[in-house]
Symmetry: C2
Subunit: 303 residues, 2 copies
Amino acid sequence: MLGHRALAQHPLRPYRSEPMSYLYHIRECNHWEPKRFLPLQVDGERVGRIRRDFVEHLRDWPEVFRVETDVVDWIHPATGFEDRTAAMHEVVSALEAQGIVSHLHGELYPVTASSREHARLLIDRACAAYFGVRAFGQHLNGFVRSPEGLKLWVARRSADRRIFPNRLDNLVAGGLPWGLTLEENLHKECREEAGMAESLACRAVAVSAVTYCRDSKRGLKPDVMYCYDLELPPDFEPRCTDGEVHSFQLQPIEQVMETVRETDEFKLNCNLVIIDFFIRHGLISQDSADYLDLIQGLRSPLP
Amino acid sequence: MLGHRALAQHPLRPYRSEPMSYLYHIRECNHWEPKRFLPLQVDGERVGRIRRDFVEHLRDWPEVFRVETDVVDWIHPATGFEDRTAAMHEVVSALEAQGIVSHLHGELYPVTASSREHARLLIDRACAAYFGVRAFGQHLNGFVRSPEGLKLWVARRSADRRIFPNRLDNLVAGGLPWGLTLEENLHKECREEAGMAESLACRAVAVSAVTYCRDSKRGLKPDVMYCYDLELPPDFEPRCTDGEVHSFQLQPIEQVMETVRETDEFKLNCNLVIIDFFIRHGLISQDSADYLDLIQGLRSPLP
């Protein structure tokens, strides 16, 4: 059993006592209680949800946020996109200096009530969850059809990753920063994370999107993961060029299924992307008691 | 434009004046107002929703149904599965004799709050919607990878079909009656509707399920459609053996996309199965403004 072997290699992570399942991971990604959050509004439109403990820090910025009992309104006088972005940057930089926000990432994410195109301002990627704004990412499953059956490329995250160090990951996965198209960012991630040529990356098929909403350490994560399938030639060997991946392994699909079903070895949200792959490739029986819950659970409505 | 040509061939169906879209069909499949219905309970568990106009007819059966202001309870004294099924059959047969129910189908559907396995009794297929019970079906997209690109087999329903005569349909589609497994029924439908050998039918891949809930002429339809992809050899020619299909055509995928997007030429729920196919095969851009609404709209929670 890969999962248990792999867990044993990383003794800091305790064995879980409760039984896992595909549905377990979907539930883990969809825990949040609306009453713990206040809506964040820009121009009267809700663009995020801020946890009540974090709201308290925003009271220091009365010219930017009006904190009421049931809502936080963005009231900064500037109405332009750039000026609003600059104002938000000033806030999060100060919060970082105070140690309230752990770090800034440097990449910018859109603050939007719907799609990226409807962004009203930008926010540092590391702060998206504090404000509970939608985050968009891309995850690619790289697979090989071999004489022995389907195999999936699995990445092991580096030990120095801030989030989920040492866990398993999709072959390519990354956040979608402002200013890049889906295609541009996917090809960039394919190059950086797996050493993939553009000619190979452009064969990736956009197959679905997975949505979830989770109350995380930093705050709410109403996330959209755009999903891709890429059939790879048998002789392709991924090579990480940005240090984010420790190693890669091409695993029989049955082994990946067992790992997902029985362990939390994969980075939490990657489980969902892989379950979506299992479903689309006919690997999860429609007779499973959980089948409809899985199908619907991968497409949670975003608040 | 195929759609308009095809519509012109069937002049009984009026041209629509509003513009269509993929999302249009999903919305059409998900129109219903809870207040028009009363829940139907068996053993205190909700198994359906009955439209208020139909509820009135059930008052004639006080030994079977207790009609209250906000719920209809099944109170027939028999507790066994067979006896309950017989009691329901007596009711629907009488309703058919009175002309309240248009016809009986002969096939039996499970009455269940969740999956088929949890059925509490059976009901004639034609009456499922009157009682608003979940119905399960199977839809198969048969496609060919040709040198000119992807092509999809499209069926034209016979003129004498009770529902959606003359409209376009999936290569194989059918309701899932009680007593057959998913696999058995799929192979049976593949044989009857498309003259497909077992050896070919068993290559179908179970790729997803689409759910919707619609207020129809007869009543509520909270439906589950199990979806299959089947890649067919270029020389395969479907042949209908049960009279349900008038003709088949292998169409370039772009033509099918236009028909779905711009017409209501397909039987209503088939549009959703085909849109799911488009998404999984990377044919709908993730940049489309509707992309997330489509993804989520194909998996509507069942009431």
